[in-house]
Structure formats: structure tokens, C-alpha cells
Symmetry: C2
Subunit: 206 residues, 2 copies
DNA sequence: GCAAAAGTGTTATCCCTACACCCATGA
DNA sequence: TCATGGGTGTAGGGATAACACTTTTGC
């Protein structure tokens, strides 16, 4: 499944199913493993085929295999989740799936299969990883301001953070650096622009 | 895979393979999923068939599916790990596997398939969970002394801990209680005996 | 009485939290 | 000039870390 931060909310990308079972229902992008295809390769391939998104942070979530989770036949789903930076939200027009859209986690529709339950697990994992890894950067563009980064933490943790304390904390970790530029963004003082020191790397920081 | 604390070491249970591929090599207990069998049920069944162990803490670790991980055919392994309390180390005599034995993590032999790599991942997960859950109790018998519990933490964290601080910390969490008994165990003062307040429950303590 | 592990408190340090004012810009 | 978010430091409290002596038992 695919998450992003959009409209100041954590949002999930859903595909409207064009075929039974659960035809017309919203569900995760995904599909079947080719013989001799690696699991992660398969997840990336399906993601790109259905949404046009590629080169995202991707992590295996869990493997679900209850015999009754698909009404027709035995399906085992090795689930992955991906994170999309907020500057890459454009979806491929007219994918082979009939429809694709972003949904706020707070107002998800009824999803196909056990996908609501899986969403809950992924959400928990994501929030947990905020606290001991640098996963939040995966939602950010190459460069960002501290306010933008703080906003991502606030949305995922679902609480306001003190600006001074957040800045002290994030800078003390030494994971981001100033680019030297400033970003003007409205009728107020421009903000310093930062970038990760190790882009694309999700570190465990304890 | 199955872990325990034995001889003051973290140890892993291995089965000597009686059939190709890798015949004669040490490997994890495990086997193939029956049609219409839940994944976790399967893990429990295979564990009991090969070792006689049941009712253990069991957790899904990861799903491995590289096409080349089994030399003969495409195998996808949904791996689980189990923890054995130190008073339940007796293995079923003469299982259908030719041989079963405990190995220290520090001196593992060359294992079949990618099992060495999987062991590393499981070890990391286990140590990480020490810090934010009550998983350590799953290595303990129903009752134990604080020194015994501290020893489990020391072995997994691979460092000595201060006795007074450990006791303050573990008691402050209010997860264990005195049984009222004492345990004499050598020529020294007897130790108070404790038990978990919520046995068999692994809590996330943050 | 001696060896060996159990049991017990206090102090210092570090980290996290709370909190308010000035700055630079666009309108 | 005014509204808006950007930028900055300090003090207090709570948690963690360091540290040594007494107790109970078996031999």
C-alpha cells in the first residue's frame, strides 16, 4: 500500500477494482507474483504498473494467509508499503485499473478483502518507525524547511510539537544540513532550506 | 526458528536435514503449508512435529522469496520465530528429523539455504524488542528471581547491567510481582521469587 | 568465619519540556 | 504598518547512571 502526506493529512492510495471479487470496491494496488520474480521486485512492478510511481521507499509489512481472506480461492499476500514524497503525487493517467485516488486515513471507505485491517497495521508500523528511524524523510522532497518537516511529524504523531524543541532535537541528530538557500513562501520571513545528509537512507537512530 | 537462553547464552535450535537439498546440513525446523492451513497454525504444527515444543511465544519475522534461495525450485518462506522458556528445553526424542540440537549464536555452523542470514535478522529483531516490549519474560519459567531476569537482559543486550538500577527499572514498570516465596540456590542469601502479572502477554511499553 | 550472591538509597548528570519575544517578508 | 510564519535560549523537572555496604545462607 502507498502512503503520502497530502492536504496536511496522512493519505492512502487506493485503486478501484475492475474485476471480481469485490468489483468496484477500493483496494490496494497489487497483483500476483511471477514465477522466478523476487517479492520486492514484484511489489515495485505492480506499483509502477498501476500508479506510475517508482523509486519509492518500500518496506515489507507482513504476510497474510488466512484461508478465508479471499472468498474464491486461497491467497497469501506478502504486503509491502511505500511512501511517496509530497512533490511526487502525480499518478499515471489512465492506468489499467479503472480508477485511482488518495484517501485520508481518517475517512477510508470500506475496502476489499481484509485491506482495512492491513491498513491499521501499516499505520501502526509507520508511526512506530517515526520514533526510532529516519523514515519521515521519505515523505519529503529533496529539500524542505524545518516547518515542513515538523508538520510531517505532527501529522503522523497526531499532536502539535513545540517549534524550538523540535528544531533542537532534529538538528542535534545531525541528519540534515542547510543547503544555504532560503525559501520565500508567503508574506513572512523566508525559511532556511535543508536537505538530508544521507538521502534515501533510512537509519535506525534509537 | 527457535531461540532460548541456555548455558548463559542465546541459543538457536537446529535440525539436521535428512533429505536433499543440503542433506546433513543444519537448518531451522519448518516445512510446507497445507492447503487451507493458516500460516501461524502451520508454523506451530511444524514446530511441534519436529521438536515436540508447543504453546510457545511465536511471531512472524519476515517473508523471503528470492528465486535462487533454494537450489532446486522456487520456495517462498514465511518465517516465524519462537522463544522457549529455560525450563522447557527438553526436545522430543527421536523426531522424524534425524537430529536436533541447540547452538550458541556465537558459534553457529554453516546452515542450509539462507538460514544464516535469516538468523541475523531474527537476532536483531529480538534485541530490538527487548527495549520496547516485555518479550524477555517469554524466556522465563513461570517464576524467577530478579537476578535470573537480569541475566536474560544482559545476555541479549550483551552488556552488564547495574543490579540496583535494573531492579528499580523493572519494578517501576509494575509488570512483575513477588510470589512471597524465596529460592535457595547455593551458599548465599536466598532470592525473592517473582512472576509476571500478565503471563503470556507481550506488551509494548515504549 | 568465609565465600558468594541478594538486597538496598543517594547523588549527579543528562535529556526533555515548557515557555515568549524579535525578525523578515508581502500586501 | 500590519499580519504571518521563521528564528532563537533558558530554566525546571524527571529520568537515567554511577556508586558501596550489609544480609543471609552453605560449607
Amino acid at each position: 500500500m502507498v502512503f503520502t502526506i497530502r492536504d496536511q493529512q496522512l493519505q492512502l492510495l487506493l485503486i478501484r477494482r475492475g474485476i471480481p471479487p469485490h468489483e468496484g470496491c477500493w483496494a490496494f494496488p497489487g497483483g500476483f507474483l511471477n514465477i522466478d520474480e523476487d517479492l520486492e521486485i514484484c511489489a515495485k512492478r505492480e506499483l509502477e504498473e498501476e500508479t506510475g510511481l517508482r523509486d519509492l521507499y518500500l518496506e515489507q509489512l507482513y504476510t497474510f494467509g488466512r484461508p478465508d481472506r479471499d472468498p474464491r480461492e486461497r491467497i497469501i499476500s506478502v504486503t509491502y508499503y511505500a511512501l511517496v514524497p509530497s512533490n511526487r503525487l502525480e499518478l499515471k493517467a489512465a492506468s489499467d485499473a479503472t480508477d485511482a485516488a488518495w484517501f485520508s486515513l481518517d475517512e477510508l471507505p470500506q475496502l476489499a478483502f481484509d485491506h482495512n485491517k492491513i491498513t491499521t497495521l501499516a499505520h501502526q508500523r509507520l508511526v512506530a518507525k517515526l520514533y526510532y528511524s529516519t523514515i519521515a524523510f521519505q515523505f519529503m522532497p529533496e529539500t524542505f524547511t524545518l516547518s515542513e518537516l515538523q508538520s510531517v511529524y505532527e501529522i503522523l504523531r497526531n499532536e502539535k510539537l513545540d517549534r524550538r524543541n523540535f528544531r533542537k532535537w532534529i538538528l542535534a541528530q545531525n541528519l540534515i544540513e542547510e543547503t544555504g538557500e532560503k525559501r520565500r513562501n508567503g508574506n513572512h520571513r523566508p525559511a532556511k532550506v535543508y536537505r538530508p545528509r544521507n538521502p534515501d537512507q533510512v537509519e535506525i537512530v534509537c
